[in-house]
């Protein structure tokens, strides 16, 4: 699978592609997307110019949500440090910014494993009021660790997440964090975190307000399910999201044996490798479960391989 469409929504707000000349007529209700389309990059449009024009609109100070698309290359995508720097330096203008997505880039533009990110820490220093943050692509990605008192949502989308990013997050102080989503990815694309690296999250102590945990797109789905099944976190969690990964009957068996699983409101397992028998047992739990997008293992040269949804 690849990612085919720009995001239509950012933390509940509809996304609107912003182009120069367009008024910001709904700065609090709309997420504005700033991206340099390939065609624009070809004709010389730069991120700095586009961002500058956006900021020149007085209403930009009321904008609450921004989506950053590709930042304007026609060759290999440069890393995001220039975007991070400009956003950080201009925080005095974006006074209302609460939600930010850096890297709304689809596979047709750059495959997720080809997106070069950078250290996001300056963003969190510059925007102490930021509540939602999402980033796509994990090459070069770092977080600090973070020390941020307002952040409620953190989403990291990758095809292969380096353990250093996981450790940055698990050693961050994010007391208000309610929604954490990590796309762990495939080891062929740089995923190297072990379940033990996720232990601080699963302990339930590190992020006490966590209500939504997504450990998605992982080759470790079964092991994660087993660890999550006995996690004290389940007491407070509303949504456990193990979707896009390689979950099989083993993982489901662990979930079914969990005393806390029925406390969930929603168990998202879509894109999985489970049998219909196990799926019907899940359905009998009495909670909402998404078991759509059933996958078949790839049988090649006598070897059976289960792939995550998004890797390359």
């Amino acid at each position: 699978m690849s990612l085919y469409e720009h995001t239509a929504e950012l933390f509940g707000k509809p996304v609107k592609e912003w182009k120069p000349g367009m008024p910001l007529d709904d700065p609090s209700g709309t997420a504005y997307r700033l991206g340099i389309d390939y065609d624009e990059a070809e004709s010389g449009v730069t991120w700095d110019a586009r961002f500058g024009e956006f900021l020149s609109l007085p209403a930009s100070s009321s904008v609450t949500s921004i989506v950053v698309g590709a930042w304007g290359d026609t060759g290999p995508l440069s890393n995001s440090s220039a975007v991070v720097n400009s956003l950080s330096q201009m925080s005095g203008k974006l006074l209302s910014l609460r939600a930010l997505f850096i890297g709304d880039i689809i596979g047709e533009e750059y495959e997720i494993s080809w997106i070069e990110q950078s250290d996001m820490a300056p963003i969190f220093v510059a925007y102490p009021e930021l509540e939602h943050f999402r980033v796509r692509g994990a090459n070069g990605l770092r977080f600090g660790p973070l020390n941020h008192n307002r952040l409620r949502s953190l989403i990291v989308e990758s095809g292969g997440l380096d353990v250093s990013v996981v450790r940055d997050i698990t050693s961050s102080s994010l007391p208000e964090l309610e929604h954490l989503e990590l796309w762990l990815g495939d080891d062929g694309y740089g995923a190297n975190a072990e379940v033990v690296d996720l232990a601080p999250i699963l302990s339930g102590k590190h992020f006490p307000k966590l209500r939504y945990l997504g450990l998605r797109d992982s080759v470790l789905s079964d092991a994660i399910a087993a660890a999550a099944a006995h996690s004290p976190l389940l007491e407070g969690l509303r949504v456990l999201d193990l979707s896009l990964g390689t979950l099989s009957d083993d993982g489901v068996a662990a979930l079914l044996a969990s005393p806390g699983i029925k406390n969930l409101e929603f168990l998202d397992l879509h894109h999985h490798y489970c049998s219909p028998e196990m799926i019907s047992k899940l359905m009998a739990l009495g909670i909402k479960v998404d078991t759509s997008d059933e996958q078949e293992p790839d049988e090649d040269d006598g070897e059976s391989t289960r792939y995550v949804a998004v890797a390359e």
């Binding site: 389309d37 026609t74 060759g75 689809i106 047709e108 390359e312």
Partner: protein, 403 residues
């Protein structure tokens, strides 16, 4: 500017009194031929006289005996018929032999056996097609053509076609020209700064022999419809319906080098928009100067092509995203392709790329036989029937010389 092809009152007044006889050069019994005959019946026209490429090329039939002064000639696709392919390779062998691209002698053509998907000798095939057009021309110096023969030949010479589109101000992907080898390709990519390119056969149809390649200098990634197989000390290329992914530079190099033997050119890989969870592009058939039948071609990979079973998407979803003004611009571009580059052809199927922000478009391909869109209707008619009703002396050209 030509009239609306679907304005029947106008077309009718211009039609000759007698029903229009059509001579169809194609593959008898093929789906295209059957569908075209069915469209003639729906349009209350007499059935077309069908002459096969094989008979034409062997000059078994003197087609001059089959026509009247009102006859309209339609040349359709030689299709995927192996005997027809062989006949075309025979016809192109002399011209191909005089060049350095991969070719086979007539004796070798006779020895070829059918293998599903095998990419034979597209350059030689193209020469064979040109030869067929020349034979028709020599036998029929004075008749009406649905599509001009120079135009058909031009549409099947993709590098030249792209150059003509560019000259006429049609938006296209930037061209890196013809390449000789993988090393040559890498050099050009460094010179131009492009990280993502399409490598295409100069004379391929559909997604035949196409590679989408990207590199950042260290990582390499090629998705392609092409498979390579070793046969003795030689390599054979096959089109596969399964998209292959190659990530090793040496494998990609070998593939590109092999493809280069058949004449390839390279253009920048423009990212395409997505809709309903897939990548898409548009096939728009322009008939008598008007953008008509339109299909959203969905795919999970860079090769969005109907023949790859990608499926069709919802046209309304796409037009809503593009907006009425953008949609009109896009149609205008397609119409300009025909009016400014191919004014003597009644129809063609144009592939259009839409940018991910739905604000830009480029013409990817112009397909001479790109009007096979069964069951796609425009104003109540399918493509073939729309072409038939658009036939009028003013919409068609008389034979003019094939260069």
């Amino acid at each position: 500017m030509m009239g609306n092809p679907l304005d029947t009152s106008r077309s009718r007044s211009n039609l000759p009194v007698a029903p229009v006889p059509i001579l169809l050069i194609g593959v008898p019994g093929s789906r295209r031929t059957e569908l075209f005959q069915a469209a003639l019946i729906r349009a209350r026209k007499p059935a077309a006289t069908v002459v096969s490429f094989i008979d034409l090329l062997r000059e078994r039939t003197n087609i001059a005996d089959l026509i009247s002064t009102e006859t309209v000639v339609r040349v359709d696709s030689p299709g995927k018929d192996f005997e027809t392919e062989r006949a075309l390779l025979h016809a192109g062998s002399k011209a191909a032999y005089e060049e350095h691209f991969a070719s086979v002698t007539s004796v070798e053509v006779d020895r070829l056996e059918f293998e599903r998907g095998r990419i034979l000798y597209p350059r030689q095939w193209y020469f064979g097609l040109c030869k067929a057009l020349k034979i028709i021309e020599s036998q029929l110096p004075d008749c009406y053509l649905m599509n001009n023969f120079q135009d058909i030949a031009l549409m099947f010479d993709k590098p030249r076609c792209q150059a003509v589109l560019t000259t006429n101000g049609i938006p296209v992907a930037r061209n890196l020209g013809e390449i000789k080898s993988f090393d040559d390709l890498r050099q050009r990519m460094i010179e131009t700064g492009y990280a993502r390119v399409f490598i295409k056969l100069a004379h391929g149809s559909s997604a035949s022999g196409m590679i989408a390649y990207q590199t950042n200098g260290t990582k390499h990634r090629a998705t392609t419809t092409v498979e390579v197989e070793k046969s003795g000390d030689k390599l054979r290329l096959y089109n596969s319906r399964r998209i292959r992914l190659y990530q090793s530079e040496s494998e990609i190099g070998q593939l590109v080098d092999e493809l280069c033997r058949h004449r390839v050119y390279v253009e920048q890989w423009l990212p395409k928009a997505g809709i309903d969870g897939r990548t898409f592009d548009l096939r728009i058939v322009v008939i008598a100067g008007r953008a008509a039948h339109t299909v959203v071609r969905l795919g999970r990979h860079p090769m969005t092509n109907l023949n790859l079973l990608g499926g069709r998407g919802n046209l309304e979803h796409v037009s809503d995203r593009i907006g009425s003004c953008g949609w009109a611009n896009m149609q205008r571009t397609c119409e300009q392709v025909m009016t400014s580059c191919f004014p003597n052809s009644l129809y063609a199927g144009i592939d259009l790329r839409i940018s991910p922000d739905f604000q830009h478009h480029q013409v990817l391909e112009v397909n001479a036989f790109g009007d096979l869109l069964p069951n796609v209707m425009c104003n109540g008619r399918d493509t073939y029937e729309s072409e038939i009703v658009a036939i009028s002396p003013e919409s068609l050209q008389k034979m003019c010389g094939l260069s």
